[in-house]
């Protein structure tokens, strides 16, 4: 089993794990963790794609690697925005989870 194949397994498993966390974890911050786990799993898949594309003297295809770097920065920005929202929500409304619908359909201004 090559490192790339193994990374493929890890990547797939991370997506599954992250998805589970995203679905079941009631706290928003844990959902953000779940999202990051899925994200890193996806990046790993890019990684093995890059590794399988080793050619022309490069140990890995540089294009997917560059995409991962871009992706990591985007994922960080997303986490930062999400965290800021969570913290602001706690400030304004106290502890809340996304599980319960925060506003009912009939809520009036």
């Amino acid at each position: 089993m090559t490192a790339a194949t193994l990374a493929g397994f890890i990547g797939s498993a991370l997506v599954g794990l992250g998805l589970y966390g995203l679905i079941t974890d009631p706290q928003p911050i844990r959902k953000i963790l779940g999202f990051n786990l899925i994200g890193s799993g996806v990046f790993l898949l890019f990684g093995i794609v890059a590794r399988k594309g080793a050619a022309a003297g490069f140990a890995a295809d540089p294009v997917p690697q560059a995409m991962v770097i871009t992706g990591i920065v985007v994922a960080f920005s997303a986490s930062a925005l999400a965290i800021a929202l969570v913290l602001r929500l706690y400030e304004v409304a106290g502890p809340v989870s996304l599980r319960s619908e925060h506003t009912s359909n009939k809520a009036e201004k």
Partner: protein
């Protein structure tokens, strides 16, 4: 085709719209009320030219809107335009103070003229929507609970009819191999179309709804009862004819379709008798006239059905002439109610006599316009069972009209003595007189000489249904107050109840929605949809 004809053709539906646009600003509100009776003039002109032998067509290929006018449309357009002028004069004084009313009036009028001259499916659909939907504002005019209810019911039926019609048109268009949307082309292709039956069913359903064939008739009594008199006159006389021209245009009369034709005729006759049966239990004059409209429209449907069943030539024109008679008479009769209510002692006999002539004209009393109309549809109806049923329906109509006249007389006697309102008087008088005269002017031009119809035996033949109906009315007099009291709109009450019950479904949906919008449910759905789509991509090979 000449330039004048073309201009008049375009102006027919466009004038009300252009005038409305010109009246956009508040300052010209007064002008708007006079527009109500000025706007129909181009339509009148176009109709007269067409009846005089001139037919016109217009196409704006860039946006795909096309118009044309032929004799069939001309006949109807002529009387419809006269009615809009008369009703417009009647409305101009009182109702037109309300801007919303005037706007709706003008829009309905534009649509009412437009459906007669639309040449392609999309133009027809647009103008049909125009004659149907803004009428909501006319019915709502009084603003009380009854008119709100009536307007709501009307809207529900109208929108349903629009949906049926859109489906029908899509089927028609799909059945035309060359992609033409001209009514002429799609109807020529209809008998051979794979979607023929679906298209015919939907055409009959949507236009049948408009002319209130049983069991889609419930909205009509509600609507006419709730609307102000001029509006009721315009709607019952003119707007309803959108359904008639629809059936005329979209039924393929050149091909014999016995099944469809006989089915339509059956529904027509059922409506004709049902309208009378329920009508004689009513005590509101407007409601009685509404049920009479259901009955009359049923007769027209029967005529078209018989024509369709055996591809009788001339059915379209015959039905148009029959319908044309109903336009003016029904419109004028609605206005009679208002006139009789305020007529002074001096005028009351005039009002009653004219109303009686018009009412019995509907029943086909010899030498009236209705008699001519019934002569015209003799050909499609034939002498068989349909002919007999038609005669019986004339008798039934006599019964209903006598009921109406009795109620009218009673109301006129009971009403307090006030001065007459001149505006109503004049427009009503003009309308009433034209309802008597116009058929006589129209008949020789459109149909031809009267010849054998004027023999004594022929006249007697048309007289017996009226006599029979009168005898029936006399016989039924003792039961006048013991007849079942049917609520106006009869089965509409059941429909409303069913509709309200169906609204409870919404709460179920709401609960389900709340569940689906829980976070875990939504994310699981996301995963499942992804897998499902992948599986579907696999299965699509």
């Amino acid at each position: 085709m000449n330039a004048l004809g073309l201009v008049l053709l375009i102006a027919t539906p466009a004038t009300p719209l252009v005038m409305l646009a010109l009246c956009g600003s508040q300052a010209r509100r007064d002008f708007l009320s006079s527009c109500l009776w000025i706007a129909p003039l181009p339509a009148l002109g176009a109709a007269l030219m067409t009846i005089g032998g001139q037919s016109s067509a217009f196409a704006a290929p860039a946006i795909g809107y096309t118009l044309f006018i032929d004799k069939v449309a001309g006949v109807l357009l002529l009387v419809v335009a006269i009615l809009w002028i008369g009703a417009g004069l009647a409305a101009a004084r009182r109702e037109a103070r309300d801007v919303r009313f005037s706007v709706c009036w003008m829009l309905t009028m534009a649509g009412s003229f437009g459906v007669f001259v639309a040449a392609d499916l999309l133009t027809f659909y647009l103008l049909y929507a125009l004659v149907s939907i803004p009428a909501f504002g006319l019915i709502m005019r009084n603003g009380d609970a009854a008119s709100k209810r009536a307007a709501g019911v009307y809207m529900a039926f109208t929108i349903l009819g629009e949906a049926f019609l859109l489906a029908a048109f899509a089927l028609l268009a799909a059945g035309e191999p060359n992609g033409s949307l001209q009514i002429h082309d799609v109807i020529a292709a209809l008998p051979g179309s794979p979607w023929r039956d679906g298209a015919l069913a939907l055409i009959i359903a949507s236009f049948g709804l408009k002319i209130a064939l049983v069991p889609m008739h419930g909205w009509m009594p509600l609507t006419y009862t709730a609307a102000p008199l001029p509006a009721a006159a315009a709607l019952s006389g003119a707007a309803v004819k959108a359904g008639v021209i629809g059936l005329i245009r979209f039924l393929p009369f050149d091909t014999a379709l016995p099944d469809w034709g006989e089915a339509l005729a059956a529904v027509g006759f059922i409506s004709a008798f049902y309208g009378v049966a329920v009508g004689i239990t009513q005590h509101n004059l407007k409601t009685v006239l509404a049920y009479s409209s259901i009955s009359q429209m049923g007769v027209i449907a029967a005529v078209m059905g018989m024509g369709l069943a055996s591809a009788i030539p001339g059915t379209a024109l015959d039905s148009a002439v029959y319908a044309a008679h109903h336009v003016l008479v029904k419109g004028a009769l609605f206005l009679s109610i208002g006139v009789a209510a305020v007529a002074s002692q001096k005028y009351r006999p005039l009002v009653m006599w004219l109303s009686a002539i018009m009412a019995l004209s509907l029943a086909g009393l010899p030498m009236t316009g209705g008699w001519l109309a019934k002569l015209v549809v003799k050909a499609p109806l034939g002498d068989g069972i349909a002919g007999t049923l038609a005669d019986l329906s004339a008798a039934a109509t006599t019964l209903l009209m006598l009921h109406f006249l009795m109620l009218l007389a009673r109301m006129a006697q009971q009403s307090p003595q006030t001065k007459t309102q001149v505006a109503i008087d004049a427009s009503w008088l003009a309308l009433a007189i034209s309802s008597v005269v116009v058929p006589w002017l129209l008949y020789p031009v459109v149909v031809g000489g009267l010849g054998e119809a004027l023999t004594a035996s022929a006249i007697f033949k048309s007289l017996w249904p009226v006599l029979f109906g009168a005898a029936l009315a006399y016989g039924l007099r003792p039961w006048d107050h013991r007849l079942l009291s049917v609520p106006e709109g009869d089965i509409i009450n059941l429909m409303e109840a069913a509709f309200r019950a169906s609204l409870r479904l919404g709460e179920t949906f709401e609960r389900l929605d709340l569940r689906l919008r829980q976070w875990p449910a939504a994310t699981i759905s996301l995963g499942i949809i992804a897998l499902l789509l992948a599986a579907a991509a696999r299965a699509s090979r």
